[in-house]
Amino acid sequence: MKKPTALCLTLAAASALLSGCASYGVRNPSGVGVTEMRADERGFVAGTGIESQDIVTVADRMAREILATPEIANAKGVPRIVLLPVKNETRFPINKDIFLEKIMALLNEKSSGKVRFLARDRIADLEREREMKQSGLVTSNTDPHVNQFKGADFMLTGKLMGTTTRTSQGTSDYVLYSFTLIDPNTSDIVCQKSHEIKKQGLEDAAYR
């Protein structure tokens, strides 16, 4: 056998040897990136978390739907809405304030003054300010002894629910975001809307 041929065969064999994969026999060794699914679409893996773009998407949709509610759209005057804390029943810890702040910001942005929000979370600060005005400690443009705090025409609350599946094929999470507009005088649910997101992904084999 000629030397160059022998050398080539040796190198070829070595390459085959060195290029072997220790992950042989492992399915999807590099994992699978996260994909967003329709809620009714059959998935193959279990879960991923609530992310900021989800909050933006949900808040945007909810803002449009709330403004389209007849009781809001056809209201005489400017309806006042109090935002109640969001209930989180998922497995993902969230900043609940962000949900409502985002909805409030979007509603304010899209409503052009058609709704107003009541800052009940600041009520303690507001009462202190009023007391200072009543005691004469600070000036006031209006009569501080007249109660001018507005009552709520509607109360807006939200709930996040979810289910998770985790197997050797991966992790899949379904999260349902639902928001409810309530008439505090009658307890009628004026508007109840929801948005659902399903995500699934698979981590690298090194982490399984």
Binding site: T10, L18, P29, E89, P93, I94, K96, D204, A206, Y207
Partner: protein, 395 residues
């Protein structure tokens, strides 16, 4: 003469290859955290200056060390950073891919911990959320913890932490909903003893860690098998004393049990492949070099002999370069047992004493902790401590 030269060359190659494959390869591993001075300061230094692949490990360790000192704000920040990393490992990861390769050690991947370690990261973060008056976010953490434990080889042991289900039910009851399903699961999973009665009106919640948890070591021909050493806890339970009340806190879950019942990892299969490759290339290399030396005796096979020796040498080098060692980086300041107790106290200041009891239910000297708390109406007072916590604590 040519034959002698070829034979000598073969012998030299075999000797050199033998040296290359002699197994004194030491894969650098981060040293186990046995802090010599201030564990929190050392941990923070390691987080800031250490390799990124070890960051989560140091965040885990340092967060827990901080909690034992009552430095909950620091712990919160570190656990949030760690959990952000471990919750986002889906898809392609180049370091993890390298770790799966023949010539990179498993320890090259970013450490996120085995399932029992990830569970505990969520558990401690849940405690901190509850401490901040967010039982719903605390419950979310306990649920995420259960998910981390849900992909076991034997489904009997999937999501089988009794305390996590119990805390889910307690948080749910406090949020005004029905936690009975979670409580039933908790009671079905109780292995170390009965769980505390569920009392949603209790406004003082006490989370207690006992002992030193499991650590990892590598075994097997090429240290490719990940194994666990059991931890140690002289204290088997605790008792909380305040204003004439005594509330028992028995161990609810055992982390060594959790570590060892998870079953095999996919990485174990990969490491077994690596070990097989290492063994085979070593054997083939030896055979090729010896075969080449034999073939060198005859003029007509000398060229082939050269090829065989060269191939054998390459095979031996490949074998020596293969790294099947298991990653034994451990969250090594975890407890062995986790425990819980609760009681109701009126608003105001109270001083609690927590005694740690041995297997004979006798108080162990030198371990008693004193905690002063200020209970406020409408918010649970959450106490975390360990038999290793500093004392006294003012919460």
């Amino acid at each position: 003469m040519k034959h002698v030269r070829l034979l000598a060359l073969s012998v030299v190659c075999l000797a050199v290859a033998g040296c290359a494959s002699s197994e004194k390869r030491v894969t650098p591993q981060p040293t186990a955290a046995r802090p010599k001075g201030d564990p929190v300061a050392e941990g923070q230094h390691a987080i800031e200056t250490g390799p990124p692949k070890d960051r989560v490990l140091w965040e885990y360790r340092t967060a827990l060390a901080s909690m034992r000192r009552g430095q909950f704000a620091e712990a919160r920040t570190m656990l949030d950073s760690a959990i952000t990393r471990i919750a986002n490992v889906m898809g392609s990861d180049k370091d993890a891919k390298k770790a799966r390769g023949y010539f990179s050690a498993e320890a090259k991947k970013t450490f996120i911990g085995e399932p029992y370690e990830r569970v505990m990261a969520y558990y401690y973060r849940g405690i901190l959320y509850w401490m901040d008056g967010e039982p719903d976010n605390a419950r979310a953490c306990f649920r995420s913890a259960m998910v981390e434990d849900s992909d076991t080889q034997n489904k009997t042991y999937a999501a089988d932490y009794a305390l996590l289900e119990y805390l889910d039910s307690l948080a749910t009851a406090k949020l005004g909903d029905d936690g009975s399903e979670a409580l039933a699961r908790a009671q079905a999973r109780a292995k170390t003893g009965p769980l505390p009665s569920l009392k949603p009106k209790d406004n003082v919640l006490i989370f207690i860690d006992l002992g030193t948890g499991p650590t990892k070591y590598a075994a097997g021909e090429y240290k490719q098998n990940l194994m666990f050493r059991t931890g140690n806890s002289p204290a088997g339970s605790a008792v909380v004393k305040v204003e004439g009340q005594q509330i028992a806190a028995a161990a609810c879950d055992d982390l060594y049990f959790q570590a060892t019942t998870r079953g095999g990892r996919v990485m174990d299969h990969i490491l077994a492949n690596k070990a097989g490759f290492k063994r085979t290339t070593d054997t083939v290399g030896n055979a090729a070099i010896v075969g080449g030396a034999v073939m060198a005796q005859r003029r007509e096979t000398q060229t082939a002999a050269l090829g065989a020796v060269a191939f054998g040498l390459l095979s031996k080098i490949a074998s020596a370069s293969t790294t099947p060692e298991a990653d034994i980086r451990s969250w090594d300041n975890l407890p062995l047992f986790i425990s819980f107790a609760s009681l109701e106290l009126a608003p105001g200041q109270h001083t609690l004493s927590i005694d740690f009891l041995d297997s004979a239910k006798q108080s162990m000297s030198g371990l008693t902790k004193t905690v002063t708390v200020n209970v406020v109406p409408g918010k649970d007072k959450v106490i975390y401590l360990s038999d290793k916590s500093t004392t006294p604590l003012n919460l």
